[in-house]
């Protein structure tokens, strides 16, 4: 039997392949960031629960705060200064979750609210300083070095270990170049994007596990990836002009977003049909912002925008109750 707690644990467990791939390719910074965010999330949750006179220990045990922290830690760039991660996590828990009434009452995906908040507040740190794959760092950062970068205590300059992600790089580099020239850069590796392809495959595997365990349904990931593919094939068919499909799917946060972020049940659409539209909306927005916006990746904005559209989707996508001729509409309010 599934319990809420077990659902959260399963989701956390399903991130493991992706998390391991991230650590393998991008170093200890990922793990530090994840643990830090989880710690901050649980501490913030405990504090707010205490202020709200709710049972602290029991509610913490449901694992929702830890999961929010984990998801945030996985999406923030490794080697991000500790205080930016703290701002992101605390605002995710306080602003997006508890100000709306706590677990189950939030309109927006908490992790993505935290992410978007620091993305617009610290755009440079958030977009151009993703950790370089370890193999490309001159002297790969060890655990202690990573810690010192993270805490800002050491003297190591972060610039030597960070750079743009392939998704970002391609978008800018393709102007006045052809695809083969762009992908010759080391961050693309031999296949699609060094490290990123494995990270995305890891999250894909975890997501499939969640579907197999019936913790999420297939509707959102399938429609999201489908819409993204459709858009990429429609507008980005020429790799000499724009980012190709392979990069869209396997670089950046696509798989993570499709299986772990967009599927957050609290803030997603309700019915199966609604979920299809919801996922498709995220897919279209994801491509739109990536291709024509100024941000390199767009999972957070796409998800938050579709969170806004959920009441509308729910209104029009009620399933047909058995015994009725046609589906009803939502509640006029």
């Amino acid at each position: 039997m599934l319990t809420s707690q077990r659902i959260m644990l399963w989701v956390m467990a399903a991130t493991l392949p992706g998390l391991l791939a991230l650590i393998h390719f991008f170093g200890w910074g990922v793990l530090i960031s994840v643990l830090w965010c989880m710690g901050v999330a649980m501490a913030t949750e405990a504090l707010i629960l205490w202020i709200r006179a709710r049972p602290v220990q029991r509610t913490l045990m449901d694992g929702s705060a830890a999961l929010t922290g984990l998801l945030l830690g996985l999406s923030l760039p490794p080697l991000l200064p500790w205080w930016i991660a703290l701002v992101a996590t605390a605002s995710a828990i306080i602003l997006a979750k508890h100000l709306y009434g706590g677990l189950g009452s939030n309109l927006f995906n908490p992790a993505m609210v935290g992410y978007a908040l620091v993305l617009v507040s610290f755009p440079e740190a958030m977009t151009t300083r993703w950790a370089l794959p370890l193999s490309l760092q001159e002297t790969p950062l060890g655990l202690l070095d990573s810690l010192s970068v993270f805490t800002g205590l050491g003297s190591a300059s972060v610039d030597a270990f960070t750079g743009a992600t392939p998704l970002d790089d391609y978008k800018h580099a393709i102007d006045g170049a052809v695809a083969s020239q762009v992908t010759a850069a080391p961050i693309y590796g031999d296949r699609i994007a060094l490290g990123w392809e494995w990270v995305n495959l890891g999250f894909l595997a975890g997501g499939l596990l969640l579907i197999q365990r019936r913790i999420i349904t297939w509707h959102i990931p399938v429609s999201l990836l489908g819409a993204l593919t459709f858009m990429a094939l429609l507008f980005g068919y020429d790799p000499d002009q724009s980012v190709p499909l392979g990069l869209h799917l396997l670089a950046g946060g696509t798989m993570f977003g499709a299986f772990f972020i967009a599927t957050d049940p609290v803030s997603a659409a309700t019915s199966n049909r609604g979920k299809l539209w919801y996922g498709a909306g995220i897919g279209v927005l994801l491509y739109t912002i990536r291709a024509w916006g100024s941000y390199p990746d767009a999972v957070a904005f796409a998800v938050l925008l579709m969170n806004l559209a959920v009441p509308f989707l729910d209104y029009y996508t009620r399933p047909r109750t058995r015994g009725h001729q046609r589906a009803g509409r939502g509640v006029p309010s």
């Binding site: 599934l2 319990t3 809420s4 929702s64 049940p265 309700t270 109750t321 015994g323």
Partner: protein, 566 residues
């Protein structure tokens, strides 16, 4: 085999049926006392036909009722009526209803039974079923006559429901595997009665013994045994119809609307016995199971047998008993006492231990995970219904098709937050039903008020008319004989003045008023000490009584004055 159709959702809970299937159906010994509730069906209680002290024979009607409103109940054994009055009945509310208490004489002497005549018309046969108290024995207790009559024309398909999908319950399974011939006889009787083109018996595939037995018994009868995959709630009427015919019963409608009639297998047996032998429904097979019983099994017992008698028969260990559930674990309800009678709709009684039925875990907030939605057999949005129902927004829940919920409890079972979802729906439905009832009452009162208003206006107008006519007549007369007019008028006025109450009445009234003032003062003093919130109300009442006392005293003194002056 026919095409197989499907319904959405459903769950696979552990079926826990083996415990009660180890032994064949047992007969319960006759109890010394029986309690027969007047109402064991959907509808109103009937009118009692017997009086305290009467001797009744087995099968004798104890009540009668108008077809369509009520169903009679019958004496389950011979004996003496010892009491007729309220007694707690098996119902989730735990409330009392009128019951007839019978002290059994142990002879079980039957009254003369009247089988349905062979040349009776269909309607007469339906009424015969009504007279013998046949109701749906599957659990809902819908009067069988009404259900048969709901079809305006012969249904295309007659479905006998032997799916019995809820865990623990095996009463129908035991019946089908041990008495397949009587089930088939019941099916044939019903089939002949309603004249359907097809007769199907739906059984879940976890009952191979029953399937095998029925297959053999049904050979050559034209009855088709249809095996459906085990998935709760395939035995729901609408779900089984969907599984076997692919059709959906329209919302708010009846299976008859799509040319289907569905009856429980045990009901079919009762129909056959009623028509062929004239035997009323005075016994049924009930599953007694749960780990607090040392001798679980299916017990055939008389209606009205006290449950503690039957639980004793099934070997109840009272120390182990934690929850006593009537019906199944998903749709049943808890009983708080064992002093209740067995009723026609009681298909199962579970005496569960604390390990078997632990207290519900603390509910957690709904995370809208959608597991309930995937489990709902009618494609509702349970999380949305819960959202509205728990917020008291019952009309919004109704808008989301709350009344299409069959209360199967599949959503409760899958809910990872342990929310008692179905209880919220039941509450919401109850509030809405009550609201509709009150609205109907208010509309009725308004109509009566308006009619009265209209009548008073009419009377006023008529009086006015008469007065004018009189005045006219007077004027005419006055113009003729002006002298006499004054005399008649004063005479009429003094005659019309109501005679005042005599002095005795006035004294009596004053004394009554004084007594009430004293009572009110005493109540107020008490309330000041114990229930301060009631003080203002009592103060108002006291003032009212004081005023009345004053008025009474004044009336009395006026009367004395008048008497003196006369």
């Amino acid at each position: 085999m026919g095409t197989r159709y499907d319904f959405p959702g459903g769950i696979h809970p552990p079926d826990n049926k083996q415990q009660s299937l180890q032994t064949p159906i047992r007969q319960a010994p006759l109890p010394a006392q029986l309690i027969v509730p007047l109402r064991q069906h959907r509808g109103d209680p009937g009118h009692v036909l017997v009086a305290v002290g009467d001797r009744v024979l087995t099968g004798q009607p104890l009540s009668e009722g108008e077809p369509g409103l009520s169903v009679p109940v019958h004496a389950p054994t011979s004996g003496t009526i010892t009491a007729i009055g309220p007694h707690e009945v098996p119902h989730p509310s735990g409330l009392e209803e009128t019951c007839i208490h019978i002290e059994a004489d142990g002879q079980d002497q039957w009254c003369e039974l009247a089988p349905c005549p062979a040349d009776a018309s269909t309607l007469e046969r339906y009424d015969h079923l009504h007279r013998t108290g046949v109701v749906g024995l599957g659990g809902a207790g819908f009067p069988t006559r009404d259900k048969l009559q709901s079809a305006s024309e012969a249904p295309k398909v007659l479905i006998l429901n032997g799916a019995e999908c809820e865990p623990y319950i095996t009463a129908d399974q035991a019946l089908m595997r041990e008495r397949p011939d009587s089930v088939i006889a019941g099916a044939l009787a019903l089939w002949q009665l309603v004249g359907a083109a097809q007769c199907l018996i739906g059984i879940e595939d976890n009952k191979p013994d029953a399937i095998e037995a029925l297959r053999q018994a049904a050979e050559g009868t034209g009855i088709e045994i249809r095996v459906v995959p085990t998935r709760y709630p395939s035995g729901g009427e609408k779900q089984l119809i969907q599984l076997l015919t692919g059709q959906e019963v329209p919302s708010g409608g009846l299976p008859a609307d799509i040319g289907v009639l569905c009856q429980n297998v045990a009901t079919a047996v009762a129909v056959d016995r009623s028509l062929r032998l004239g035997e009323p429904v005075i016994q049924r097979i009930t599953t007694f199971t749960g780990e607090a019983l040392t001798r679980p099994g299916n017990i055939e017992a008389r209606i009205g047998t006290p449950l503690d008698h039957l639980l004793f028969e099934a070997g109840l260990d009272p120390d182990q008993l934690h929850r006593l559930i009537m019906g199944g674990p998903l749709m049943g309800f808890d009983l708080t006492t064992t002093g209740l009678p067995l009723i026609k709709t009681a298909n199962c009684l579970i005496a569960g231990t604390a390990e078997e039925f632990p207290d519900s875990p603390i509910p957690q907030p709904c995370i809208r995970c959608g597991l309930c939605e995937q489990a709902c057999p009618v494609d509702l949005l349970p999380q949305q219904l819960y959202w509205f129902a728990s917020a008291g927004e019952h009309h919004k829940a109704e808008h989301f098709d709350l009344f299409d919920c069959i209360e199967c409890g599949a959503c409760d079972w899958v809910c990872p937050s342990h929310l008692p979802l179905t209880d919220y729906y039941r509450h919401s439905k109850g509030v809405l039903r009550q609201e509709k009832k009150e609205q109907a009452e208010a509309d009725h009162a308004r109509q009566r008020f308006e009619e009265r208003q209209a009548r008073m206006e009419r009377e006023q107008a008529e009086r006015e008319e008469r007065r004018r006519a009189r005045q006219q007549a007077r004027e005419q007369r006055r113009s003729g004989e002006p002298a006499e007019a004054g005399g008649t008028e004063t005479g009429a006025a003094s005659a019309a003045a109501p005679p005042g109450p005599d002095r005795e009445t006035l004294i009596q009234r004053r004394d009554q008023a004084r007594q009430k003032v004293e009572e009110a003062e005493a109540q107020l003093a008490e309330a000041r000490e114990q229930t301060p919130e009631a003080v203002p109300k009592l103060e108002r009442a006291l003032n009212k009584h004081r005023k009345r006392l004053d008025a009474a005293e004044k009336a009395l003194s006026d009367a004395r004055e008048e008497a003196r002056s006369c």
